[in-house]
Symmetry: C2
Subunit: 310 residues, 2 copies
C-alpha cells in the first residue's frame, strides 16, 4: 500500500524532510539535517536516503509503503534536470536519476525549484486552493513561484517565476546578483532593505538601532512612524505592488501570496501594498487579493509532497 510521501526541501545550509500521509497530505513528522558540503552531487542524495530510512524505521514503514519522494531544490529545474546550481555546486545533472540511485527501483522521484514548489505548498494549504496563484518569497533574495491552472510553472529552462528580477523603474539602480540593475530583489531583499535603512539614517532621524538591524525592527519602527522605517517600508510595498500589477496582466492570477521573512511584517505590509497596488492595477486586476503565507518554513516540503502526488 502506497500510503506515504516524503517531501524534501534541499537548501544550501539545511535539508528538511517531511513524512506525509498520501491521502490527506497530513504532515506526520519533519526533520532537518545539515546539507553535506563535499561531493554534493552524490552526498546530498545519500544523506537524504539514509535519513528517510531512519524515519521509515521510526514509523515502522518500508520503501514499499511510499508513493514517492518529492524534492525541492534551490536552482532552476526543468523536467528534473539542473544546468547549474551555485548554491550546491551542482553542474548539469539529472537530479531525479541521482536521487533514485540511492532508492529501491520502485520509489518515484519528482523534483522542481524550491520557490515554485513553495507556491504549490502555500496555495494547496489554503482552505480553498486557487487554480492560479503567485507566491512572492521575500527573504535575503526575492524569488517566487507561479501556479497556472493548478500546475507549477517551470518555463522552458526552469527559470519560470523568477519574479525577483522584474525591473523596478524607481527606488533603485543597484546592481543585482543576476548582473542587471534595478531588480525587485534590490528593493525588497533583506540586504537591500538594510542598505537603504543605513543610507537614510545618515540624513533622517531614526530610532532604529543600526548595529543590530533586523527587518522586524525596521517594520516595527515604521508602524511607530519612524521616518527612516516609513520610507524603507513604503519603498518595499510600492515595488511589490508595481511588480504585482505587471504579473496581473501577464498571468491573471487569483491571488498573490506573500511569504519569506519580510512577509512577517504582516497585515501592515499587506495594507501598504494594497494601497500602492490599486492605482497600478489594470482592468479588473485590482480585485486580486494579497494574503500572507501560512506554512512558514514548511512550504517547500508541503509543495514537494503535493507535486509528487500530482
Amino acid at each position: 500500500m502506497k500510503q506515504y510521501i516524503y517531501g524534501v526541501d534541499i537548501g544550501g545550509t539545511n535539508i528538511k524532510l517531511g513524512l506525509f500521509k498520501e491521502n490527506t497530505l497530513e504532515l506526520i513528522e519533519s526533520r532537518e539535517i545539515k546539507t553535506p558540503t563535499e561531493h554534493q552531487e552524490v552526498s546530498i542524495f545519500e544523506h537524504i536516503a539514509l535519513e528517510i530510512q531512519t524515519m521509515n524505521q521510526h514509523h515502522q514503514i518500508s520503501f514499499d509503503d511510499l508513493l514517492g519522494i518529492g524534492l525541492a531544490v534551490p536552482c532552476p529545474v526543468k523536467n528534473g534536470f539542473v544546468q547549474k546550481c551555485p548554491n550546491l555546486n551542482w553542474q548539469t545533472m539529472d537530479i531525479t536519476k541521482n536521487m533514485s540511485l540511492f532508492l529501491p527501483g520502485n520509489v518515484t522521484v519528482k523534483v522542481s525549484n524550491d520557490a515554485t514548489l513553495a507556491a504549490l505548498g502555500e496555495n494547496n494549504s489554503l482552505e480553498r486552493p486557487f487554480q492560479n496563484a503567485i507566491l512572492f518569497t521575500l527573504g535575503t533574495g526575492v524569488g517566487g513561484g507561479v501556479i497556472i491552472d493548478g500546475q507549477i510553472l517551470e518555463g522552458g529552462t526552469g527559470l519560470g517565476g523568477e519574479i525577483g528580477h522584474i525591473p523596478i523603474p524607481f527606488e533603485t539602480d543597484e546592481l543585482c546578483g543576476c548582473g542587471s540593475k534595478g531588480c525587485l530583489e534590490q528593493v525588497c531583499g533583506t540586504k537591500a532593505i538594510f542598505k537603504k535603512t543605513r543610507l537614510l539614517a545618515q540624513t533622517l532621524p531614526t530610532s532604529i538601532h543600526l548595529d543590530h538591524l533586523t527587518v522586524k525592527a525596521i517594520f516595527d519602527a515604521a508602524k511607530e512612524n519612524d521616518p527612516v522605517g516609513l520610507e524603507v517600508v513604503h519603498g518595499v510595498a510600492k515595488a511589490i505592488a508595481y511588480s504585482a500589477s505587471i504579473l496581473a496582466v501577464v498571468l491573471d492570477p487569483e491571488v498573490f501570496i506573500l511569504g519569506g521573512g519580510v512577509s512577517k511584517a504582516g497585515q501592515f505590509l499587506v495594507d501598504l501594498i494594497e494601497q500602492y497596488y490599486q492605482p497600478y492595477a489594470r482592468f479588473h486586476t485590482g480585485s486580486v487579493p494579497f494574503i500572507l503565507a501560512k506554512t512558514g518554513n514548511n512550504a517547500g516540503i508541503i509543495g514537494a509532497a503535493h507535486y509528487l502526488k500530482k
Copy 2:
C-alpha cells in the same frame, strides 16, 4: 469519420472561417463574412453555422464529418465564458453553449481569446513548435498570447497574456484604453506610433508624408535614416525589448514571435529589438530568439483549429 475541423476567428468587422483536415491540420478553404451588427449574442453564431453549412455542402461533407469547431474571440475568455466583450456587445455569456445551439449535438465547440489562439497558431505553424512561446500582436492595439508547456494561458479570468498593458517606464505617459498610463500599447500600437510621428515632425526634419501616415512609411523612412522615423522605430523596439525582458524572467519562454501589422517592418525591427533586448535580459534569457510571425491573418483560424484538436 471525424476528418475535418473548422477554425473560426470572430472579429469586430469580419468573421474568418477555415476548414482544416483533422489529421494534418492542412487548410482546405478559408472564407470571410461580415460580422453581423444586430443581436450579436445570437446572430454571430447563426451566421457562422450557416456559413459552415455552405462550406460543408461545397466540400460534400456533413456535420458528422467534423471533429468540431474552434472559435477565437476578441475578448477575455475563461473556460468558454465571457464576462464582457465591448467589440461585440456581448455580456456575461456561455459562448460554447450559444454556438452549440446552432449545431447538431455531436459537434464539439471550443473557444478562447483570439490573440491567445493566434499564439498557438503561429507557434504550431513553425517547423518545430516550441513548448513555451510568447506572441506579440502589434496592431492598432498591442496584445499577445502565451503558450506554456504547449498549452494556452487563459489565466484566472481569461485576461492572461494581456502583454500590451505591461507598463513602460520611459517613452510615454499616455493614458491607455485600459485606464492606466504608460502601457506598451501606448508606445507600439499604430495609433501611438502615428501620434509620436506627428509630434516629432514638429521639431525634426522628416521625409515622411504626414497626410498619409502608414507604419510601413515610417519604418521605410527609418531604414533611410530619417530622423523622425528613426526615433519612433527605436522607441518601439526599445519598449518591446524591455517588456520581453520582463516576460523572460516570469515565463521563461523559448521564443518571442512578433505578429500584427507593425511586425511587417521585418528583420529591421527584429534586429533593433535584439539590440535593445540584450542589455535588459537577465540570466541566460538573452539567448531567447525573436522571430517574425508567418501565418498573417490566418493565425486565429489555425490556432482555433489546433485548440479544438488538443
